[in-house]
Symmetry: C2
Subunit: 135 residues, 2 copies
């Protein structure tokens, strides 16, 4: 079973979180999602783990993953950091982007030769495209 | 003379751009700023360079730099990507954050052991702190 690291903007709005939840549900049919909490961030997390602990835990998960699936419609420092960290570690990167949201994707992501870019409107359609793109 | 790669959110608002311009002016006293266009993005850039060309040019500048100075108050996929790419390439990383803007910094940046974090309110003060922090 593939180990999937899912990345999304933690500080995205309610629309983003609903999209993330649907993506995570669909991804669970493809493999084990290591970061299912991204769709439903616990308000307690920041109180029990330091930033260093969150960073080290997430980077260890990322490096152990078979692929990174990053939702890149909303701007996020953490997601950009995770994409470049995955590429540096040799973990395949799939980025999902909703053009209908009207936000142009950063050239550093859209132009990165290691990034597989999937444009979509419905989360289930994105995961179906991802399945076809996987080796 | 130190070669400085300055990173900021290209799609930040007018407040960000004014801060970037002041940071770049102050950084020019410390070294050569390779990416001075971040403070004043040309509307023509997207028409003359492809995303791949922008990515490859910026990454080549980043890898040739003596340090990365990243303004991290606004969310940005590109800035997050540049921070992790610099760390992977062994380029020292200094992140500048304005707590007064009220946006909590991503744990992946605040908790990254390779990141030197400088909090500030005035750009000239941030660059003075940076000078003191440089080896």
């Amino acid at each position: 079973m593939k180990r999937i690291y899912f990345a999304g903007s933690i500080r995205g709005g309610e629309t983003d979180r609903e999209v993330y939840r649907r993506l995570i549900t669909a991804l669970a049919e493809v493999g084990e999602v290591l970061t299912a909490h991204v769709g439903d961030p616990s308000p307690d997390e920041g109180r029990t783990l330091s930033d260093h602990e969150i960073h080290d835990r997430d980077l260890a998960w990322l490096r152990s993953a078979d692929l990174l699936v990053a939702e890149v419609t909303s701007a996020s420092l953490g997601v950009g950091y995770e994409i470049a960290s995955a590429l540096a570690a040799g973990v395949p990167v799939y980025c999902l982007h909703r053009p209908a949201a009207g936000r142009r994707l950063s050239a550093m992501i859209a132009g990165s030769p290691g990034v597989h870019l999937i444009e979509y409107s419905e989360p289930e359609e994105a995961v179906a495209s991802l399945r076809l793109a996987l080796p």
